[in-house]
Amino acid sequence: MIISIASGKGGTGKTTIACNMAVSIGHDVQLLDCDVEEPNAHLFIHPIIDNTKTITTPVPIVDEEKCDLCGKCVEICQFKAIVILGDTILPFHDLCHSCGGCELVCPVKAITETDRELGEIEDGHLDGLQFVHGRLRIGEAMSPPLIKKVRTYCETDKLAIIDAPPGTSCPVIAAMKGCDFVLLVTEPTPFGLYDLRLAVGAVKILGIPCGLIINRSDMGDDSVWEYAKETGIPILMEIPFERKIAEAYSRGDLIVEIMPEWKAKFLELYETIKAIVY
């Protein structure tokens, strides 16, 4: 089973939920940090890293000897990633989406492919928990291909918990698509609710069942509860604001470490999700 933890708004507690749940379950569980722009789960899990791998995407190089500047590659490229300037052909690797169209269309076979680095994937473990995260290269614009690569580490016989990036556009979709359940973490504020509605819209497009966690549940107003009632989305957990929790988070400590009684709540959360999915 794959559970993706998403939110719309940033900073609502996705990583907290993902890490506490994964550590509470403890064995036969994978934690995949798909917030590759700003991965944070490792700061709470402190996994032993076993492998680091550079992830690349193919981009074109042009053999200028062979190129006769016919312009067919420029024509097919939808991303303006290859242009003719005077009598040179110039690929812009940063803009390339790696579709391979330019190579396919070149009549004189002047185009081959090289690699652009997207970032790194590290995988490791902490006891029975398998840990994987992606780390986007600074300056790299496209995170979805790296997120998809992180997701290839999912093993079908294990529970995989995905820490998704914020937002509702392509990176989040890459982190949620094909999951069995999406856990949406929100806060009961106007920003939290507005972005939650967008996140629910994205989950609906993908047709995945979802549930809510309301974090800092005593700061704000009741509109999130009203929204949950209206839409029939189940509220699976409420976490009140406690300075102790906020301070633990600031140090990189898990809730279940400072308040062990929460472990049972996270295990129950998992059981509830299983009951919804199966």
């Binding site: 940033g10 097919i76 986007l136 914020p166 994205a202 700061m219 140090r251």
Partner: protein
């Protein structure tokens, strides 16, 4: 014409609340909401939309069944495996590269443009604002960010306004890169947590990569004084100016619930005072910066 872009790396550190507070302190500016994916600034500023425009960007492939001979060329060439065995294109997977369209021997694949959202020019009680709404699950957020910034700039020039206040998106990817280019400076809003510091370091590397000067301010600084001191030490070591500390204050949430900036909600609170000091510092400093 100068532009301050407020970013954070990590989401939820208080970017939007701070931009809104700045808006109520600054006299003459254009507001630009560059967080087009999950924009929230409008929830405080209640913009009255004066102009609305569609955001059309990219294309998507659609196979016309009656023309398709099921030759499979499109399925072989598609690098996103976006075309299933029934020759239907998965619109979420389709990258819009047009390779299938080009190589289909039957010209059976249509390639219409995508309507990805809207952008708006509005008026607020704190001056003009340019903002946008990217449709859910859409791509090209970077392009929409560029449009919103260009339109803000054009509006500022038209009205003889020399400051743009831009609410940036979280992360370090495509929309953030699009919100940085050509900015006078970025203000990184960081919270004193291990994640906040980690993410600030990455977004700072990004700002350095594009050679944009960066300033730092620490929100909820009293949540963890040790982390606050570490962030300040890190800033000094990297020649970054920390322009202020804002205390943890539940009034931010209360102000938000009422649709007000913290300055409007409680002008005398410690947090409002801290933000006024930051704004003052920033105004003095900004005079000296290029743009």
């Amino acid at each position: 014409m100068k532009e301050l872009v407020i970013i954070s790396g990590k989401g939820g550190t208080g970017k939007t609340s701070l931009v809104a507070a700045f808006a109520s302190l600054s006299n003459n500016h254009v507001l630009c909401d560059a967080d087009v994916d999950a924009s929230d600034l409008h929830l405080i500023l209640d913009p009255q939309i004066k102009k609305q425009q569609d955001f059309i960007s990219g294309n998507s492939a659609f196979i016309e069944n009656e023309k398709c001979t099921q030759c499979d060329i499109c399925r072989d060439l598609c690098r996103w495996d976006a075309i299933n065995e029934n020759y239907v294109v998965d619109q979420i997977e389709c990258e819009g590269c047009g390779v299938c369209v080009h190589f289909c021997p039957e010209q059976a694949i249509a390639f219409p443009e995508n309507h990805c959202g809207e952008w708006f020019i509005s008026e607020t009680r704190f001056g003009p604002m340019v903002h946008a709404r990217l449709k859910i699950a859409e791509e090209n957020s970077g392009k929409l960010v560029s449009i919103v910034r260009q339109e803000s700039k054009a509006l500022a020039e038209e009205r003889n306004i020399d400051l743009m206040l831009t609410d940036g998106p979280p992360g370090i990817g495509c929309p953030v890169i699009a919100s940085l280019g050509g900015a006078t400076a970025v203000l990184i809003v960081v919270e004193p947590t291990v994640s906040g510091k980690h993410d600030m370091e990455r977004v700072l590397q990004l700002a350095n990569h594009f050679k944009i000067p960066a300033l730092v301010c620490i929100n909820k600084f009293d949540l963890n004084i040790e982390q606050t001191l570490e962030i300040e030490a890190f800033s000094r070591k990297n020649n970054l100016t920390t322009i202020g500390r804002i205390p943890f204050d539940s009034k931010f949430t209360k102000a938000m619930v009422e649709g007000k900036t913290i300055i409007e909600f409680n002008n005398n609170s410690e947090s409002s005072q801290a933000i006024r000091d930051i704004w003052k510092f920033f105004e003095d400093r900004f005079q000296l910066m290029g743009g």
